[in-house]
């Protein structure tokens, strides 16, 4: 692993206890969490770990290996850097390379993959008017997600669903009705946060191309004028057989034309549904320049290592840039996703971000 970068450790969970993999055996670690663009479904977090397998220890068919019968689907993994967990997931695939330089490529996914694979049954009428947090807990129970790995907040009441869908879809509904977000944290905690949560997220890193104090130098950036992400009309789809609520922000329509989106949000209270439509139609109605992707290296990140490693989805980052024509601009961004590519001599990182919007409403 890179000498000046945070120290990476990989531990496999066996029967509830984690055992570290020899650090010298780690050749490459690629982690992807979150989503590349806003307003799309959040993807399952993945991690691909390439290990030196000259000893054959990670060959699942090697009966003399201490890992025999443990490298099976569902085995837990915990990737840490400087003792901070940056990924937690479960083994999905194991590819053994028996070439001249034997390696093994282990692919892990986080809980979102489990939720996506689990089809939830239709909820009975007794589930009517339960809060988003209760609904999320019910869905996580269906997916048999451990109770100790949950952090669920959301008081908006919901209608009972009448159709079978995946647990992940139902969790998205929970996030939609509260104008918030659902994600699996870097430590493996299924997290549901309400709308107000976006006003309390910390700003973890400052990216600057001018050497500001306590800043990280970035070496790649993709900006966007924001017009691609404009939505000025929103329809809150509450479910079949009930009234739907729509709202349109006229000024934006005048400028950008009508940009509509549908929000799958079975809100039980009609006032809340109307407010949710107002919020959804307004929050992305303005085109604001954003940094879609920020590329940097973690080598030599020094004192900012803790902030870097603790950066979670939905946290804020700030980008300072001197434009080609000499203007200083500042872009406040929300971390929608991140990618780590760690090799023996480098640690490349990409943050995928969206624009910060200040809008709120009572739902």
């Amino acid at each position: 692993m890179p000498a000046n970068a945070p120290t990476v450790t990989i531990a496999f969970g066996i029967n509830g206890s984690f055992t570290n993999v020899g650090p010298d055996l780690i050749l490459q670690v690629d982690i992807r969490r979150g989503r590349m663009y806003q307003n799309v479904f959040i993807d399952a977090g993945t991690a691909m770990v390439v290990l030196n397998n000259q000893s054959g220890a990670f060959d699942p068919s090697n009966t003399s290996s201490t890992w025999y019968n443990t490298l099976i689907a569902g085995m837990q993994v915990r990737i840490t850097a400087n003792s901070t967990v940056i990924y937690a997931g479960y083994l999905e695939d194991n590819m053994v390379n028996q070439g001249i330089y034997p390696t093994v490529s282990l692919t892990f996914v986080d809980g979102l993959a489990t939720f996506g694979k689990t089809i939830a049954p239709s909820l009975s009428a007794s589930a009517n008017s339960e809060s988003a947090a209760t609904r999320a807990g019910r869905v996580l129970d269906i997916a048999q997600w451990p109770a100790g790995s949950r952090s669920l907040t959301g008081t908006t009441t919901m209608l009972a669903t009448a159709q079978g869908m995946s647990c992940l879809d139902m969790l998205e509904q929970c996030a939609n009705v509260i104008g918030g977000r659902f994600y699996v944290s870097r430590t493996g905690v299924a997290t549901l946060v309400p709308l107000a949560n976006k006003f309390s997220r910390p700003t973890q890193l400052l990216f600057s191309d001018q050497g500001d104090a306590n800043s990280v130098g970035y070496d790649g950036i993709i900006t966007n004028p924001g017009t691609d992400y404009v939505y000025n009309e929103a329809t809150v789809f509450r479910g079949p057989g009930v009234n739907q609520y729509s709202a349109t922000y006229n000024a934006s329509v005048t400028t950008y034309g009508l940009k509509s989106k549908k929000l799958d949000a079975p809100v039980s209270n009609t006032t809340s549904a109307a407010n949710l439509a107002l919020y959804a139609a307004r929050k992305d109605a303005d085109a604001v320049v954003l940094a879609e992707q920020i590329d940097f290296t973690a080598i030599g990140i020094g004192a900012l290592a803790t902030d870097f490693l603790e950066t979670e989805l939905n946290d804020l980052v700030q980008v300072k840039r001197l434009t080609y024509d000499g203007r200083n601009i500042t872009i406040n961004s929300v971390v929608e996703g991140m990618a780590h590519s760690i090799t023996t001599d480098n640690w490349r990182v990409s943050y995928f971000t969206s624009v910060v919007d200040p809008y709120t409403i009572t739902i």
Binding site: E233, T248, L258, A303, Y324, N332
Partner: protein, 569 residues
């Protein structure tokens, strides 16, 4: 808190101002504003345009003329204030950069689109598979429904194969007819294993058609050939095979029954009969406990045990018979034995290793103390006087009755080391002394006249002071007139001798003596043997020299007579 400055977001609450809360028709195409760099019209008729590799010079060159450097990519210059100033359009580079960015974005978007297309295709394929599975599932469901209908019809048919008959899931038939209700699994309702319920009662039959139980409806009498399991039977009498009967009063009568397992009770009373445990132990109603080869373990406690007849045996070493015979082999008594009258017949009573009494009354002590007397294997020691009661006596063997020191029998004067016998006393057997003085008269029951006679033995050098010869001591007196005594006297052989060492006293002189051998005189016989004293075994022991004078006198008389005859007298 992170090290970098924190972004502060001031929330803006969305209101309905400027918003329509119903669906609205989308406006026309968005007004796209493109700010293009203005292009200055440099061509005004006065300006000259040059195409050459070098900068134009000369008087013809005037303000705002244009020059395209043909060996520098036609880079444009404008002549301002006497110098050629680059007129390259910066927007080209900007446009190029934007184009590159757009190209990269397009590539990314294309990749995303391709991925999305792939995902969509996969989803479509999955949907098709799911649809096919749904169709198959529907077909399966339809088949299952048809099968269920068929099964239902078959079930109804199998449930009631004929009139008045019902069959259950275990293929048991139930017939309801004139016999009553019969549940059976065989071929017929009247044969094989079945249960019949009618007004007569309830009856069961095995596969062979034999009755296994019956309960009479009219009397309630029940007969079971199998086992009856239950918890409480109230009233009446339970008769089990005639061998075990329990009546309503709780009386259990058992003949030849066997009880296995453990019987636990706080109070058992057996009235009449005998309680027999195994083949070795029995208690009769009369309280007679009989045990043969039984073993009692643990502690046996009783305030009063009486054993009549037989023998109480404890282990292999101790037993008491009903006659009171106590036998102990190598037994050990500890503690105190108390008895008011104990008799030991036969054997020996041994106390420790030093004291024993035989059944013959022989008291043996190798050591120990009786009263103030110390015992040893052959003596009694005492620092006080040994008192013999006036009615008792002391008996002993030839050399066992020896008193050392002072012995006072009868309370004589205790002076010096001697035996003082006061009053009239009798001595049976031999009195051996070394130097003794007899005061008063000593009577002897006889002299040495033959076997069994009492005698006084006088060793060499000793004397008896008196020999009785008075007529008052004699009766049946006759004078001897017989002859032949001279010949006999002439056969007497005088000898010289010394006393054998066994009969001498140490320190006393043993000088040569003269005399006869008692055996020689005894062998002559003819009356001379009467001068010989025999011992208790009948052997010659002593010779009464004083009585030889009688025979010498008779011999002298015969000799005188012969002399007188020879003289012619």
């Amino acid at each position: 808190m992170p090290l970098c400055p924190q972004i502060t977001i001031t929330p803006i609450t969305v209101t309905s101002t400027g918003m329509t809360e119903t669906s609205v028709t989308a406006a026309n195409a968005p007004a796209t504003t493109e700010q293009l760099a203005g292009v200055e019209d440099l061509v005004d008729g006065k300006a000259q345009i040059y195409y050459q590799t070098t900068a134009p010079v000369g008087a013809g060159v005037k303000e705002n003329d244009l020059w395209y450097d043909t060996d520098d990519g036609n880079k444009p210059y404008v002549f301002r204030s006497g110098v050629w100033v680059s007129a390259q359009d910066g927007s080209i580079a900007t446009a190029q950069s934007a184009a590159n960015t757009a190209l990269a974005n397009a590539a990314t978007a294309n990749a995303t689109g391709v991925a999305a297309q792939n995902t969509a295709n996969t989803a479509l394929a999955n949907a098709a598979v799911a649809d096919a599975k749904g169709v198959a599932a529907q077909a399966t469901a339809n088949t299952a429904l048809a099968n269920a209908a068929t099964a239902y019809t078959a079930a109804i048919g199998s449930l009631q194969p004929s009139a008045n008959t019902i069959v259950n899931a275990s293929n048991q038939m139930t017939a309801i007819n004139g016999t009553g209700i019969t549940v059976y699994s065989g071929a017929s309702a009247t044969t094989g294993a079945r249960v019949v319920l009618n007004s007569a009662g309830l009856a069961g039959f095995n596969s062979g058609g034999s009755a296994t139980f019956s309960i009479s409806a009219s009397t309630g009498a029940a007969v079971f050939s199998g086992s009856v399991t239950g918890s409480t039977i109230t009233g009446g009498t339970l008769n089990i095979g005639g061998n075990a009967i329990i009546d309503a009063s709780g009386y259990l009568t058992a003949t030849g029954a066997t009880i296995t397992g453990t019987i636990t009770t706080s109070n058992i009373t057996v009235t009449g009969g005998t309680l027999t445990i195994g083949s070795t132990f029995a208690v009769t109603a009369g309280g007679v406990l009989t045990a043969t080869g039984a073993t009692i373990t643990g502690t046996l406690t009783s305030n009063n045990v009486t054993i009549t007849g037989g023998t109480l045996t404890i282990g292999a070493k101790f037993s008491v018979t009903s006659l009171g015979v106590l036998t102990a082999v190598d037994g050990v008594f500890t503690g105190t034995i108390t008895s008011t009258n104990a008799t030991i017949t036969g054997g020996s009573l041994t106390v420790g290793s030093t004291f024993s009494v035989t059944s013959a009354g022989v008291l043996t002590a190798t050591s120990g103390t009786v009263g103030g007397f110390t015992l040893s294997a052959s003596s009694i020691y005492s620092s006080t006087n040994l008192v013999i009661e006036t009615s008792g006596q002391i008996s002993g063997g030839n050399s066992s009755t020896i008193f050392y020191g002072f012995a006072n029998i009868g309370g004589g004067a205790a002076t010096g080391e001697r035996l003082i016998v006061a009053g009239d006393s009798s001595f049976n057997g031999k009195i051996s002394t070394i130097t003794s003085s007899f005061v008063g008269q000593m009577n002897y029951s006889g002299i040495a006249t033959g076997s069994g006679s009492t005698m006084v033995v006088v060793t060499t050098g000793s004397r008896v002071a008196y020999t009785t010869s008075s007529e008052r001591f004699k009766e049946q007196i006759e004078y001897i007139n017989t002859t032949g005594w001279l010949d006999k006297v002439l056969q007497m052989q005088p000898i010289t001798y010394k006393t054998s060492e066994d009969f001498t006293v140490e320190g006393e002189p043993n000088e040569e003596q003269i005399g006869f051998l008692a055996e020689d005189i005894y062998d002559i016989g003819g009356g001379l043997d009467k001068a010989v004293v025999l011992d208790p075994l009948g052997d010659p022991f002593s010779l009464s020299y004083d009585r030889l004078t009688v025979f010498l006198t008779l011999a002298i008389k015969e000799l005188k007579a012969e002399i007188d005859q020879l003289k012619g007298a």
